[in-house]
């Protein structure tokens, strides 16, 4: 039955049948050929896999993100970052990374981060004389922080799928995210020095204060979300609900950038975006059920541990595998499919599942900036008006840095586990 399942799945994927439909139909066909199990289990599994309170954080974080995109928050975060770091060599490029880190702390998606900031920052960099390839690639690579720095939609999916605390995962993503951000800043700085990219005017303390006050409500948001979760006040889902209320009040009543007319569009689009992710989860319900019943995770574990039962080698294989998957597959779909297959092996080899989640996310996030299928590259090259090959050329130095940081994150579990361990004590 497992064989039929994967055969159909590969054929449907290759034909371009949407992933959610491929998974559901391949599972239904596998059950049907097998006989024995009534097909009604398909509907029952679809229902129960999305009938979940933790998953409800996804629509709320998506809605909060869209509200912020329309609510003038990006603009204010950019001015604040500019006041802080604009005067270094390559100031605007550094501002791009810093703002992406701030924005990532209120948004759970990389595409949203790239689109919301890139539309302002990429044209600004180009007009200040930065090379188009560089401007586009800086934004594309910074956008991936959106899913690593909490909140993060892929981390929620991983947590639900692996049965790991979403709060712990969010906390674990913090230091790796900051580490990646800092190494990107350093890379940008070195390149900018070499190419003599311009600095922005240095701001006085009082100007920085003004920019800070203006961005204060936006900066307060991650404090409320993360503080609420770790203070034990809210569940992640409730925190996401609070984020919605906060973004709504700030965008509509305080910054007054969201017009009432836009609200229908914002809510409908957020709801459709949610469906795109959650429809896959629903269809993956039966898929996962068949995998478990057929013992596929054990087979995968047997195969992988057959190559080597050394966790160092295992993690290296996983890294290479995930980077390749990330190049071709969308992140959320990859997490839903691969988590139940890989996590049991990781745990068997003594890898902490929280740490493993961060490894998966960082790998797949790199995949968002690699051709042929990298959402951040698509968005950034579209805004910078360059072709995929050109932006990829700009990406080369960043790839090297990302792989080095990835190896650190993979082999030093404390980078991920330090904060959640600290908070658990």
């Amino acid at each position: 039955m497992g064989l039929i399942l994967f055969a159909f799945l590969i054929v449907f994927f290759a034909l371009g049948v949407p992933i959610a439909i491929s998974m559901g139909l391949a599972s239904a066909l596998a059950i049907w050929f097998d006989g024995g199990t009534p097909l009604v289990v398909l509907v029952q599994r679809s229902f129960t896999s999305i009938d979940s309170f933790p998953l409800m954080a996804i629509p709320f974080f998506i809605l909060a993100g869209t509200l912020m995109e329309f609510g003038g928050i990006s603009k204010r975060l950019i001015s604040f970052a500019n006041a802080l770091t604009g005067h270094f060599a390559g100031g605007l490029a550094i501002v791009t990374v810093v703002t992406s880190m701030f924005f990532a702390a209120i948004s759970g998606s990389s595409a949203a981060t790239t689109a919301a900031l890139g539309s302002i920052l990429i044209p600004a960099m180009i007009s200040r004389g930065y090379h188009r390839n560089f401007a586009g690639s800086v934004q594309a690579v910074s956008g991936e922080l959106g899913v690593i720095i909490p909140p993060s939609i892929p981390l929620i999916l991983y947590g639900v799928s692996a049965g790991v605390s979403i709060g712990d995962l969010f906390m674990a993503g913090m230091i790796p995210g900051i580490l990646i951000g800092l190494s990107l800043i350093l890379t940008v700085y070195v390149i900018a020095k070499k190419r003599n990219y311009p600095r922005e005017e240095k701001k006085s303390i009082s100007e920085i204060w003004v920019a800070f006050k203006d961005a204060f409500l936006a900066l307060l948001m991650p404090v409320i979300i993360l503080g609420g979760i770790y203070g034990g006040i809210f569940t992640p889902t409730e925190a996401a609900g609070v984020a919605v209320a906060y973004a709504f009040i700030v965008g509509v009543f305080i910054y007054r950038e969201i017009k009432i007319k836009q609200l229908l569009f914002i809510f409908t689009q957020s709801s459709i975006t949610t469906s795109i992710v959650m429809f896959i989860i629903a269809s993956a319900g039966l898929f996962g059920w068949i995998l478990t019943r057929e013992g596929v995770p054990q087979d995968v574990a047997g195969f992988l541990t057959g190559i080597s039962d050394n966790p160092i080698v295992f993690l290296l294989i996983v890294n290479i595998f995930l980077i390749i998957v990330g190049m071709f597959m969308e992140t959320n779909a990859s997490i839903i499919i691969l988590t139940p297959l890989l996590v049991p092996v990781a745990m068997q080899l003594g890898v902490d599942p929280v740490h493993f989640g961060i490894i998966m996310i960082v790998n797949l996030a790199i995949g968002m900036c690699t051709p042929p299928l990298g959402i951040n590259l698509f968005i950034a090259s579209e805004i910078a008006k360059i072709r995929l090959e050109q932006i990829t050329r700009g990406m080369l130095p960043f790839y090297i840095v990302l792989v080095v940081v990835l190896l650190f994150i993979t082999y030093i579990p404390q980078i991920s586990l330090f904060l959640p361990d600290l908070l658990r004590k």
Partner: protein, 168 residues
Amino acid sequence: MQQVIKAIDYMNKIIGIILALMLAVMSILIIVQIFTRFVINYPLHWTEELARYLMIYSVFFGAALALRNNRLIAIEALAQSMSESKQRILRIFVMLVSIIFFVILLVQGLEIIEVVKPQHSAGLGISMSIPYAAIPIGAGLMIVNSIAVILESLKKPHPKTLLESEEL
């Protein structure tokens, strides 16, 4: 043919409004839940359940609109390597394959509604057929929208929205 597509898109517009309302109510429910738990210290047991069921409805309704706008995530390498006319044939084939899945969802969904009718939900105390009905209704909407996509592909190349189709 044009009329059929127009009618389906009109229906989709209404579904879009329903989706927005459902998400708004979900947001309000979660805030009410936090409020009753903390502020008046009287936790309601039905808010979470109602929000969950609304989410299930919105997932299956929203998937129909995503399908119509070519926004469901798919691996599009094959289509991209093809000429435009072949792409249209592939697109129609993909929709026909999808319709098979939606029909299974519809038929089995109607069956499960009957099975779970006597069961009642823990919080609201409603029959479980009501939340489960999201699946056959959603499947029906997806069938209708697949037909709209097929009709449109028959007359002109489908607009490509690569940018929106991959991630959130």
